[in-house]
């Protein structure tokens, strides 16, 4: 168990270093593949040990706490260095303040380190480890062909791939460390390390806009880290412990000050790019797509919600909890509204990520067993499906050289399988019986008692359905006869896309078992299993969701519909109605003077209502006010 934990954390570092040191493409691919495979195996092996907690006296003869302290300072000085290098006062100030605070904290406050359990793993951590190790590794695999293609396209003077894979693998280790640690100073260290990884990867292409956006991500997250360390100091002063498990056992108000918790929540909001700090995530879309898939949808931004879920027991019954619920629900709605106004595929994904994270925060804030179940399901399915959608968009982008939804019109004719997988991803985002919708359904039923949350969530959910359906429809839009020629893609790309797609499908069927697993080992304090499980039907006093029967019906319906498609391939293919003046060319009609004219039918993006320019200011204002309420109310 200890070995597995160390493997999960340290092996990626080793892989990262060797990627950086050995500058040969085949060797690098081999290292990435083998590291990924070992990580996946280790994470699966970990399942049987959960829950556990341990604290090694020494690692390789060194004290664990000391082992973290040195890199912690290196890390903070690195951020300071980048701040000075890019002449960003916004990075320098929080970084410098942080260094001062950490020195003060480490040297003067906790001179003799209190006894803490260094590692702690329960079902929540396990789920995060599984997501990081499995989804993360799959994304890294897909990055191999992607980055090769990427560099062929950009022609950099020297290959930047060693650096890229160094950071990617390094990041996997950091994430595993973050979710398995229990010592809050260690968590803070990893928290900061993810910020640096994110900064390095956003700026990977080195273009002006990439650098600008990466610096923005750095300063915003530095402020988050600063809030984290301030809150850490306050928590220590309050209860004299930096052990996460002890912290959450202390109810808010009794010993633990509200301000410390609300600051910690603020740090979570920044990391999960909640409004009004969303601009760094939207800007981060300039990074190569595997980065967006790994950091900015499936893992790193989940750190915020993960910590919020961890802290939820401490907030139970306090006013903070409903505040976070409303804030999260507001973000859910606002993110969906902004996604609706976008035609840039990656930005739609970014806003939808923000929106879904908002919903998870809302669940954490509602703080009932039902909402916690919903939150965990949302985390799992969002990670898998969103990673898949990002990889799809990346693949599409390399093929058609655009990430605009309008340019994906009729993509099915050009890249049938990729288009189908994308559509499948969209379907899994919004439709029952798939897990994400199940999570949303649980969240809504849990929120029904809170009028503000449910109204925000209901409107947000309708907006969500609209922008996804529009995208799926656009992909399939073309006259099509039913014989498709499979497009050529590297095996690793197909492997990544197909495994994520089937994985999400199988997980949806497995929801009853996931649910059972979640609660057998007492997922968390104060939460009893909310649903009774019979014949694959989840039911409680006020709701019933027949997971397995619905899956069965969905499979039958799907097969029947596919059968209908088979029948339709024999049908007469007829050109779409174009007032009788259509030509052999799709979408082209015969205009005046026998000229050929293309019929344009663009999507509604409603940018007058939901445009970024129109809405962002107001949303930021509202979110800022809500945040002030949360932090200010805690004073």
């Amino acid at each position: 168990m200890q070995t597995i934990t160390f493997m999960l954390i340290l092996l990626p570092f080793l892989g990262a270093l060797s990627c950086y040191a050995i500058r040969s493409a085949p060797v690098r691919s081999f290292i990435v593949l083998s590291t990924g495979c070992i990580l996946i195996t280790c994470s699966l092996l970990l399942i049987s040990y959960v829950p556990f907690t341990f604290s090694p006296e020494t690692v390789f003869g060194l004290d664990v706490h000391g082992l973290i302290q040195i890199p912690d300072f290196i890390l903070m000085f690195a951020i300071l260095y980048y701040g000075i290098k890019h002449r960003s006062i916004l990075v320098i100030i929080p970084a410098a303040l942080q260094i001062i605070l950490v020195i003060w904290f480490e040297v003067f406050m906790i001179a003799d380190h209190p006894t803490t359990q260094a590692f702690y793993c329960d079902n929540l951590s396990l789920i995060m480890v599984l997501i990081i190790s499995i989804v993360g590794s799959i994304i890294c695999f897909q990055a191999i062909p992607y980055m090769k293609n990427h560099e062929e396209h950009l022609h950099p003077a020297t290959s930047r791939q060693p650096r890229f894979f160094f950071v990617m693998l390094f990041f996997l280790g950091v994430m595993n460390g973050l979710v398995l640690s229990n010592d809050m100073t260690v968590i803070h260290f990893f928290f900061e390390a993810t910020t640096l990884c994110s900064f390095l990867l956003i700026g990977h292409d080195g273009t002006e806009i990439a650098v600008r956006n990466s610096v923005r991500a750095l300063w915003m997250n530095s402020i988050g880290c600063l809030a984290f360390i301030v809150s850490l100091i306050m928590i220590y002063r309050n209860i004299g412990s930096i052990d996460m498990q002890q912290v959450i056992r202390t109810p808010a108000g009794a010993g633990l000050s509200f301000l410390s918790l609300s600051l910690l929540c603020f740090a979570c909001f920044v990391k999960s790019a909640q409004f009004p700090m969303q601009s760094w995530l939207v800007g981060a879309m300039v990074a190569p797509t595997p980065v967006s898939a790994l950091l900015h949808s499936s893992t790193m931004v989940k750190v915020g919600v993960y910590l919020a879920l961890r802290l939820a027991p401490a907030m139970q019954g306090s006013f903070l909890s409903p505040c976070i619920a409303i804030f999260g629900a507001f973000t859910f709605l606002a993110g969906a509204a902004l996604a609706l106004g976008q035609s840039n595929g990656k930005k739609v994904l970014a806003y939808s990520t923000i929106s879904n994270l908002g919903l998870i925060f809302a669940c954490a804030g509602l703080n009932t067993p039902e909402s916690m179940t919903a939150a965990v399901l949302l985390i799992i399915f969002h990670a898998v499906i969103k990673a898949m959608l990002f990889l799809c968009v990346g693949t599409i982008e390399q093929h058609i050289e655009s990430r605009d939804i309008e340019d994906m019109r009729g993509l099915y004719a050009k890249m049938p399988l990729t288009a189908l997988i994308t559509v499948m991803g969209v379907v899994m985002m919004i439709m029952p019986p798939f897990g994400l919708l199940l999570g949303k359904w649980m969240a809504m039923e849990a929120a029904a008692g809170n009028i503000f949350v449910i109204i925000l969530a209901a409107v947000g959910s309708a907006l969500t359905a609209m922008y996804w359906a529009r995208w799926a429809g656009t992909l399939m839009s073309d006259p099509f006869a039913g014989i498709f020629h499979l497009e050529k893609q590297p095996a690793l790309t197909w492997g990544a896309l197909l495994s994520l797609c089937t994985g999400a499908g199988i997980l949806s069927i497995a929801v009853p078992w996931i649910y059972r697993g979640l609660f057998t080992a007492a997922m968390n304090l104060n939460y009893a299993p909310p649903y009774s499980l019979k014949n694959g039907i989840l039911e409680n006093a006020y709701g019933v969701f027949a997971v397995l029967p619905l899956c069965l019906i969905a499979v039958l319906g799907f097969l029947q519909s596919i059968w209908a498609v088979r029948g339709a391939t024999q049908a007469r293919i007829c050109p779409p109605y174009l007032s009788g003046i259509h030509t052999a060319e799709p979408r082209v009609f015969l205009g005046p003077m026998n000229k050929l004219i293309k019929a344009e039918a663009g999507n509604y993006y409603l940018s007058n209502i939901f445009g970024e320019r129109k809405l962002t200011v107001w949303i930021n204002l509202a979110a800022g006010m809500l945040l002030t309420l949360i932090v200010g109310g805690a004073l």
Partner: protein, 148 residues
């Protein structure tokens, strides 16, 4: 048994696509008059669809010219089988007073096969309804031919 029901349903639900190839609108006004409360075509299940994909009966008025003959052809092709074409008015039948004009092809039957001819300038609503009902008989024959 099913065949019988299907035939009955077909006779009771003819959906009409009305296309004006370039008439003086006299016939078109009469066609629309059929939908008014006085004649109330919907009594017979007739609906004016305006979309070839949904139509059973193709009601064509006006002279066919070189510009619109392709449109006529296209619309005809987009109507799923079984289908019936009814040509309306003097112009639809032969090209009418315009038949000698340099740009005129002639009647509808120069381009697509016509099943029922309804004369008149313009054709009276009663005549149009009569033509559609006659078309239905043709429709039944075509449908049974399609099945056998």
């Amino acid at each position: 048994m099913f065949e019988k029901i299907l035939t009955k349903a077909r006779m009771l639900s003819p959906w009409v696509l009305h296309f004006d190839c370039g008439s003086c609108n006299g016939c078109d006004i009469e066609v629309l008059a059929c939908l008014t409360p006085v004649y109330d075509l919907e009594r017979f299940g007739i609906i004016n669809t305006g979309n070839p994909m949904h139509a059973d009966i193709f009601l064509v008025t006006g002279t066919v010219n070189h510009r619109n003959k392709q449109v006529l052809r296209n619309l005809y092709d987009q109507i799923p089988e079984p289908k019936v074409v009814v040509a309306l008015g003097a112009c639809g039948l032969t090209g009418g007073v315009f038949r000698e004009a340099y740009n005129v092809v002639g009647g509808v039957d120069k381009v697509i096969p016509v099943d029922v001819y309804v004369p008149g300038c313009p054709a009276k609503p009663e005549a149009i309804i009569d033509g559609v009902v006659l078309g239905l008989e043709k429709f039944r024959q075509k449908a049974s031919a399609m099945h056998s």
